[in-house]
């Protein structure tokens, strides 16, 4: 059975722009104070050039105010990492009015809650961080938080306290007192609250697996992977290409994810995508070969028409993995004449005999795939 759908099948999520978000590295100047999502308030110290993994990159150097840790962001990555300006005093007042407002019912599904909170911390701006603090605080009134969420709550609180401190120009201890004064007001204290600002809406994510039409589902059962023949009409090249495509997409996903974390590595990862996809394909080849059952027929066919796979190969140059599959396909006939030349002595006669007895064909086909990969492997070695 196939697992959950590959990530690339889901619609690509685009975070809405948060107020004060920095759209390009040109907006940054040494001495500016910015908020790096999940890291806190940083001060831009300058722009420097560095060679990383053979690439010359222009990096924005920042210093985390809290502990002086250095943060380097490639210039090209500045718009995508979610850097934003420190909240203004007015914005911060809105945050306090939001915090002091009555509690909403917390989301009870921990998976949804945890994911939403993680999104809010990255893309929700200062109000998003406040939402996480308030949401988890309200949940803690119902039951103690699990360890992971307790950690998340503490991190969110840490980020918020430091941003309040910078925004209002007060020491962090005072910022924390202000924060808890709003969250847990002393007995008898009533605030004259204004309507709080509207939180940033995060993109909706599909909660269920994308369902496919029954026919497509059947194709995706992976029977080919198990060496089960689905019928003579099933095209070998199609299966291989589809698999290759998903592998390439998966590789692409990984590459972009890695890029997100370490901006400097992003470009090399993309550059090496083709090679990776190809390499992955080759590694998986023995297990994936979708219909080795057809090989006897193909072997016979190849003996007759050696150009056929060569024709197929140039038809699919679109995706890099397809290219890999095509390369394989084109490599196969090159190897096959030699590989096929030998089996011709043993299995080819069987294949030649089989058309005469179609009833016996299937068992013979099923038996041959087990031998074939082994034989092929042996030859390869």
């Amino acid at each position: 059975m196939k697992g959950p759908p590959a990530r690339h099948e889901e619609p690509q999520e685009v975070y809405p722009a948060v107020e004060g978000i920095i759209a390009s590295a040109g907006d940054l100047a040494p001495g500016d104070r910015v908020v790096y999502p999940n890291q806190g308030v940083c001060r831009v110290t300058g722009i420097e050039k560095k060679e990383i993994a053979g690439q010359k990159l222009e990096l924005v150097r920042m210093e985390r105010e809290e502990d002086g840790a250095a943060v380097l962001v490639p210039k090209a990555k500045v718009p995508s990492v979610g850097l934003r300006k420190v909240a203004s005093r007015d914005q911060m007042e809105g945050v306090f009015h939001y915090l002091a407002a009555s509690f909403d019912d917390p989301e009870l599904d921990w998976k949804v809650r945890h994911r939403d909170n993680a999104d809010r911390l990255i893309a929700g701006g200062v109000l998003g961080v406040a939402e996480v603090v308030k949401g988890l605080h309200s949940l803690s009134r119902i039951r103690p938080l699990p360890a992971k969420e307790r950690e998340q709550y503490d991190n969110a609180r840490h980020l918020l306290v430091h941003e309040i401190a910078v925004s209002l120009a007060v020491p962090p201890a005072l910022a924390e007192d202000y924060l808890d004064y709003a969250l847990i007001p002393p007995e008898g204290v009533r605030f004259n609250l204004k309507p709080p600002p509207k939180p940033v809406e995060l993109p909706l994510r599909p909660r269920r697996r994308i369902t496919k039409p029954a026919a497509e589902e059947e194709d995706d059962l992976g029977l080919g992977d198990l060496g089960i023949d689905l019928g003579p009409e099933l095209e070998l090249g199609v299966g291989a290409a589809a698999d290759g495509e998903s592998a390439a997409a998966a590789a692409g996903d990984e590459a972009t994810e890695g890029g997100g974390e370490a901006g400097a590595e992003a470009q090399p990862a993309h550059a090496g995508e083709d090679a990776e996809a190809g390499g992955e394909d080759e590694e998986l080849e023995p297990a994936r070969k979708p219909a080795p059952a057809k090989k006897p027929e193909k072997a016979a066919a190849a003996a007759k028409k050696p150009e056929k796979p060569a024709r197929k190969a140039p038809e699919k140059p679109a995706a890099p993995a397809k290219k890999a599959a095509a390369e394989k396909a084109s490599a196969r006939p090159a190897a096959k004449p030699a590989a096929v030349a030998k089996p011709k002595k043993a299995p080819a006669p069987v294949a030649a005999k089989k058309p005469a007895a179609p009833a016996k064909k299937k068992p013979a086909e099923k038996a041959s795939p087990a031998k074939k990969p082994a034989a092929a492997k042996g030859k390869k070695k």
């Binding site: 209002l168 201890a173 808890d180 605030f191």
Partner: protein
Amino acid sequence: MIRIVTLDPFDDEDLAFLSKTLYQAFGLGTEHAGSRPLPSEAMDDDGRFDAPKLVAEVEPVKTFADDKVLYLTRAPLSIAPGPLGEPPCWSFAQYGGERAVLSTARFPARGVTEASIDAWRKRLARESIHAVGHLWDLHHCYDARCAMHPPWSPSLGPSPEMELCGFCRDKSERRIRMSKT
């Protein structure tokens, strides 16, 4: 090492109890490092002392790296009002820093009975743990049984616990281990 410095006269037994409790809470040696005068520069017009200014202006005591100094006073403290008003100030600490100040002005009366003195000492110990906790990077905790819960919270009983919750204890231990020179 935690050094307690008094800015007003305090009972020796109270200080002994406090030293013992702080040692138990953080696993660090604690001692009474002497007395210092209240800095008059930090006094506001209303007779209260501005807590951040007091911490900045008070006379120092001899310390080594990673030492924490807790100043004790009976004088009421004030802090600058925030967007929603001025929170009640029980103590003030330089977050992740070296100095903290605790005022007993908001404590219930010490009284003369053994029970009331005991309750007062426990409250002193709790708020001291709270202030020193801030010096070790601890934030306020939502758990009302934890010493890091805000002191003005309506969830606190008349004699609140003077211990850290598991999470805060782990975090403080981690910080202490990391910062040991």
